[in-house]
Structures are given as structure tokens and as C-alpha cells.
């Protein structure tokens, strides 16, 4: 199978302009999405996951956010400056599924109106044809009685059903890239399972490249082919899924994996402290304060990628030197 790069992100930096200050939120993020593959993005709240997603779609307001770096879709730079062009791309080539299904819909419009609006922006069809496309799409997502759902308002549907509707709206144009920002966080476990199953089926069916954001390691392990771990705006570690779960290198990743209660009664090995505030970021490694193997020179570290072998890249001074690092030294 030939892997095809669909989206290529290089050196993405996003900063928030706040009272004549620039607060950098996303720093030097690079990754690429391949056809039919899922890139998982893990991290705690405030680490820049959602901002990364929004900036890919050009959804950040220009007067408050500064976005640098290059995003190429199928080799072409995304035209962020041309509002009309990027609007055409959104929904047709790059689609997004938001975190909270209930607040992402307009409560005054029916599900059908949401659908036809999106379809008629991208395709020249009549209202009736648009309705037919919508019904077909809803059937693909295993919603029963799609005609009835089309006439209903968002609040009449359950969270799981709404999330399905949103995925259906995102996928009807067969986009090259689907960005799913915590698609299952607000749902029940059993519903989460079904939604993930449907996302996986659609990925296989349309060969969509997917960026799946989550803070749930289980979801990432289940879905992702490659995983990027974010902390304090940086991607601190990136590797194929199996590699990162079996052989996590960055102290943060290791801490995260251990802090999950996985059907044991043993005491949890926790990461002490809290994620750093956006406003208080200084130079050096953002994980310095919570790291168990922090050294003095960590504060001077410029967060360059160190130790990238076999598709496994880390940003940590531990792996900068040539010497073998003992893995258990700080676990």
C-alpha cells in the first residue's frame, strides 16, 4: 500500500495577542497526516491541542491570534489569507468534529436545515436533492428513522445521536482530512464505543486521514496509528502507536501512562503538580517543575528534537547525549 501524505504541517506556532504581549500557545508543531491513517494527539487541558486543530482550519480570529508556519494540503499551501477560498475548503477538503455536540449546533435550526446549508454551500443541488444526500448519510451512520431526525431540533436528540449527525455533516463531501477534537469526551462509555467504531469504519471506507484529539489514552490506543504527546505547547514525543505505548521515552509520557488506573488496586504512580499556566511560561522545558529527572540545564534547553530513531522523536535533554540512558533511572 502506498502511503500518501495528505496534510503536512511544519513549524506551526500560534500565539495569543494579549495586552501587547504575545503568549505562545502552540510552539513548533510539525506532523503529517497520511491517507487512511489516524494521528492521535494526547495532552492535558491547556496544552494547545484544540488551538492546533482550530488553527489548521484557519478558524482563529486574526486580530487576536498570530499563526506562523506552513500547512500544506496535498502539496498546496492552505490559503488562510483568502477568506472565501478557505471557506470553500472547510467542510469539503478539511472537516472538523467538535467536542461538545450540543453547543455546536444552532438550537433554532433543525438538523435538516444544518445539513442542507452545508451541502448547498459545497454542491450545486436543489433543496430536495440535498435532503436525499443527508438521509443517505444519516443511514450510513446507523441512525434509525433519518427522515424523522431531519425534522427535529438539536435538543430533541441525545448526545450520541447529535455527535453522529455532526460526523455525518463532516463526512458527506468525503474530505481528505477529518479533524476530530475530543469527539467522545462528553459521551457515555458505551456510546463512545459505538462512535469510535463508526469513525473507524468511515476511515476505512473513505480513506480519510484523521487527526484524533483526546486526553483518554484508551481511545488513542484503540484508534491511532501514530501518537503525538503534547505538553506546554510542544509535541514532546511522537512515535507509532505501538512503540509509544510499549516504550515511552519522555518522562511526561511515562508519567501519564502510569497514572491511569488499569484495573489494579496498586497505588497509582502520579505526576505531582499541575500543568503550567499559559501566562507563566518561561524558557526551557515546560515540564521542568514536575519532572522527576530534571537537571539544571533543562531550564536552558531550547526544546529541539533529540533522539529521533525509527520514527520515534522526543524533545528531552535525557536523550540529547550519546550515552545510553537507563530507562528505569527515573521511573
Amino acid at each position: 500500500m502506498i502511503k500518501e501524505k495528505v496534510m503536512d504541517v511544519e513549524g506551526l506556532c500560534v500565539s495569543l495577542l494579549h495586552r501587547q504581549r504575545e503568549i505562545s500557545v502552540v510552539r513548533d508543531v510539525s506532523f503529517c497526516l497520511e491517507e487512511g491513517k489516524v494521528l492521535g494527539l494526547i495532552g492535558e487541558s491547556g496544552c494547545g491541542k484544540s488551538i492546533t486543530c482550530l488553527s489548521l482550519l484557519g478558524l482563529l480570529e486574526k486580530d487576536r491570534w498570530k499563526v506562523e508556519g506552513s500547512v500544506r494540503l496535498k502539496g498546496k499551501e492552505l490559503p488562510y489569507l483568502n477568506r472565501e477560498k478557505i471557506r470553500r475548503l472547510r467542510g469539503s477538503s478539511v472537516a472538523m468534529v467538535m467536542q461538545n455536540p450540543i453547543s455546536s449546533f444552532n438550537p433554532l435550526l433543525t438538523v435538516g436545515q444544518h445539513f442542507t446549508e452545508t451541502i448547498r454551500t459545497h454542491k450545486e443541488v436543489t433543496r430536495r436533492e440535498a435532503g436525499q444526500i443527508a438521509v443517505e448519510m444519516l443511514l450510513k451512520l446507523n441512525l434509525s428513522e433519518p427522515e424523522k431526525v431531519m425534522g427535529q431540533y438539536p435538543f430533541q436528540l441525545s448526545g450520541g445521536m447529535l455527535q453522529r449527525v455532526m460526523i455525518a455533516i463532516a463526512l458527506f463531501m468525503c474530505p481528505h482530512v477529518l479533524i476530530a477534537d475530543e469527539p467522545t469526551t462528553s459521551l457515555d462509555v458505551t456510546v463512545q464505543y459505538q462512535i469510535l467504531k463508526e469513525l473507524a469504519e468511515l476511515r476505512d471506507h473513505y480513506r480519510t486521514a484523521m487527526l484524533l484529539v483526546s486526553h483518554d489514552l484508551g481511545v488513542i490506543a484503540q484508534m491511532a496509528d501514530e501518537v503525538a504527546v503534547m505538553y506546554g505547547g510542544y509535541v514532546v514525543e511522537q512515535a507509532p502507536s505501538r512503540e509509544i505505548f510499549c516504550n515511552p521515552m519522555h518522562p511526561y509520557t511515562r508519567g501519564l501512562m502510569k497514572s491511569r488506573p488499569a484495573f489494579t488496586k496498586d497505588r497509582l504512580n502520579v505526576l505531582e503538580g499541575y500543568p503550567p499556566s499559559l501566562m507563566k511560561r518561561s524558557r526551557g522545558c515546560p515540564f521542568y517543575e514536575r519532572c522527576r529527572c530534571a537537571r539544571k540545564d533543562c531550564l536552558e534547553f531550547d526544546m529541539k528534537e533529540t533522539g529521533a530513531t525509527g520514527g520515534h522523536s522526543v524533545r528531552c535533554l535525557l536523550y540529547a547525549g550519546e550515552e545510553e540512558v537507563k530507562m528505569d533511572a527515573c521511573s
Binding site: V189, S241, C246, L256, A262
Partner: protein, 318 residues
């Protein structure tokens, strides 16, 4: 000794959308019988809307059941006189799901934690202050934090303040209503460890309501699975976790995703969310979503029966 016993507790809510409509009745909790041993933690799992929170509120004495009996250390909570009932409240404290919504944003942390102390214990100001400081240290915060306002704390720290408030009057039982769901993964682990430590140190009992089954397994000694107002399965010993056998409990367990790509599941589950939960008259509440439903399931509701020692299931198939 049981700290809390709930016998055949029911709670109905009735409402109407328009004034000409007939009242609709929703049974949030239907005849639940549960008890919590002293010094143990009872985990309560179930999907959203199954009545977990209502049951938690009934256990904490915030909500009154329509039917049934609640015994706190053997004495009835509902039939005792008001003065006594208020004193009983001291033994029951609650930690809410949304920590920012459950504290007054205009009160400092010290005032928030001090409120139950002022209510129940007759202490002078210095004693109260000393107690607040001690409580803050117990939950892993600084003494100086008592002058801070809720807005100055992060989610994890504020949840610690809420736990300190619940601990303040040394209750017997703390009802934890999804205390982790608004927190980050690494902070969740910190709070879980804190709760486990406090339980050991003070001999506390918990009613731990959550939908995170792995967290429930970590903290609980007994487990009850709820579905649409009924307890469908109960194990008195969490080590019998593998024996859970109600079709709904099985489904719940199979939906847990392991954080290990070596154990990836083939996602083969029949989609059944479309089938509206609800019952015909009589009948098992899970029958319409159950793959194993038979004619009998649609007719008669199964009661909770003992299938093996310490293991109760409400299903006709066992």
C-alpha cells in the same frame, strides 16, 4: 456495621411542559436497596440518566425519597424529628461533580471550608482557623491558600478544597458524585490517591458515583451497576469483578478501552442506541436493548437475586 442502609428507595419526578398537558412522571430511582459497610467504598456505575446522581443525593439527605427507608447507623433518617435529622446531616457530606459550581465564587477557600464547621461545631475563631489550616494540609494544599478565591485555583486544587469541606466535620460517609470527571488525567490520579489515603486514615466510607469503571475498581470495595433506576447487579467484593454477568454490565465492561495497543479490540458491537430505553408495562428495563431478551423478559421484571455468594443479579437468565 452498616453506615447507611437504603431500603426499597424510590424517587419520582413529575413535570409538565405546558400548563394544559397532563403531568408526566419519570421514575429516577425505582426501589433500590443498597447498604454501605463502615470503612468501605461502594462504587456505583451506570450511564447518564440512569439515576446515579439522584440516588447519591438521596443518600446524602439532599433529596427525599417518595418511598422507602434510609437508616444511618441503624436509626431512621426520615421518621426521626427534625432537630435530630439536622444533626444526622453532619455524618453525611457530599463532593459534587462540578467543583467550580459548588463553591461560592465570592467566598475565600477558608470561608468555604469553614462553613460546615460553623454550622455543626461550636468553635471560636482561632480554633476554626487552625482547623481550616489543618484540613488544607490534609488535602495537599498550602496554609496560605485559605485566603484565595475559587477563581484563583485550578480545577484539581478546587476539587481538593471541596474534599476538605466535606471532611471538615468528620463525617461517616462521603458521597462522591463523579469527582473526577472535570479533571485532567494526571490530576485525576492525584485525587484518587488522596481519596484512598483519607479513607485509610480516617476510616471513611464512600459512595463513589462514576462512569469511569477503572477508577471505580481502584477505589471501591463493592460495586453496584445501575440501569434506568434499578440496580441490576451488585457484588459485595470487588475482587469478583470478573464474575459480572448481567448483559448490561458485560456491555459496559466491553466498552472500556485498554490503553495498550496490543489489546486492541475488534469493534464488533451491535448498534443499539437507537432503541429507546424504556419499558413496556412490567418487563425488564433492559429488555429492549438486550441481545438475549426472551418473551419472559418483556413480561415480568426480574428481581435482584443471589446467584452466588455476595453476588446479586437482576436477570432472568441467571
Amino acid at each position: 456495621m452498616h453506615v447507611l442502609e437504603m431500603r426499597d428507595v424510590s424517587r419520582k419526578y413529575s413535570f409538565k411542559r405546558y400548563f394544559w398537558q397532563r403531568k408526566k412522571v419519570i421514575e429516577a430511582v425505582k426501589g433500590v436497596t443498597l447498604s454501605i459497610e463502615q470503612g468501605t467504598c461502594l462504587g456505583l456505575v451506570g450511564e447518564s440518566g440512569c439515576g446515579k446522581t439522584t440516588l447519591g443525593k438521596i443518600a446524602a439527605g439532599i433529596e427525599k425519597p417518595d418511598q422507602g427507608e434510609i437508616l444511618l447507623m441503624g436509626s431512621s433518617m426520615l421518621s426521626s424529628p427534625r432537630s435530630q435529622r439536622l444533626l444526622m446531616r453532619k455524618e453525611l457530606q457530599m463532593v459534587f461533580q462540578d467543583c467550580t459550581g459548588s463553591v461560592n465564587p465570592r467566598h475565600t477557600a477558608g470561608k468555604v471550608i469553614g462553613e460546615p464547621i460553623r454550622n455543626f461545631l461550636k468553635l471560636n475563631k482561632d480554633e476554626e482557623e487552625g482547623m481550616v489550616e489543618k484540613l488544607l494540609e490534609t488535602v495537599g494544599l498550602n496554609k496560605e491558600d485559605r485566603h484565595k478565591y475559587p477563581g484563583q485555583f485550578s480545577g484539581g486544587q478546587l476539587q481538593r478544597v471541596c474534599i476538605a469541606r466535606a471532611l471538615a466535620v468528620k463525617p461517616m460517609l462521603i458521597v462522591l458524585d463523579e469527582p473526577l470527571s472535570s479533571l485532567d488525567v494526571s490530576v485525576q490520579a492525584q485525587i484518587l490517591n488522596l481519596l484512598a489515603d483519607l479513607k485509610k486514615e480516617y476510616g471513611l466510607s464512600y459512595l463513589f458515583i462514576s462512569h469511569d469503571i477503572e477508577a471505580v475498581y481502584y477505589l471501591s470495595d463493592a460495586l453496584a451497576v445501575m440501569y434506568l433506576g434499578n440496580v441490576v447487579e451488585y457484588i459485595a467484593d470487588i475482587s469478583m469483578f470478573e464474575a459480572l454477568c448481567h448483559p448490561y454490565a458485560e456491555k459496559l465492561l466491553s466498552s472500556v478501552l485498554p490503553a495498550d495497543p496490543g489489546k486492541i479490540k475488534n469493534m464488533e458491537v451491535k448498534n443499539d442506541e437507537n432503541e429507546k430505553p424504556g419499558t413496556g408495562p412490567g418487563g425488564c428495563s433492559y429488555a429492549r436493548r438486550c441481545a438475549r431478551a426472551s418473551a419472559r423478559c418483556l413480561d415480568t421484571a426480574p428481581g435482584l437475586k443471589e446467584v452466588s455468594e455476595k453476588h446479586y443479579v437482576a436477570c432472568h437468565h441467571y
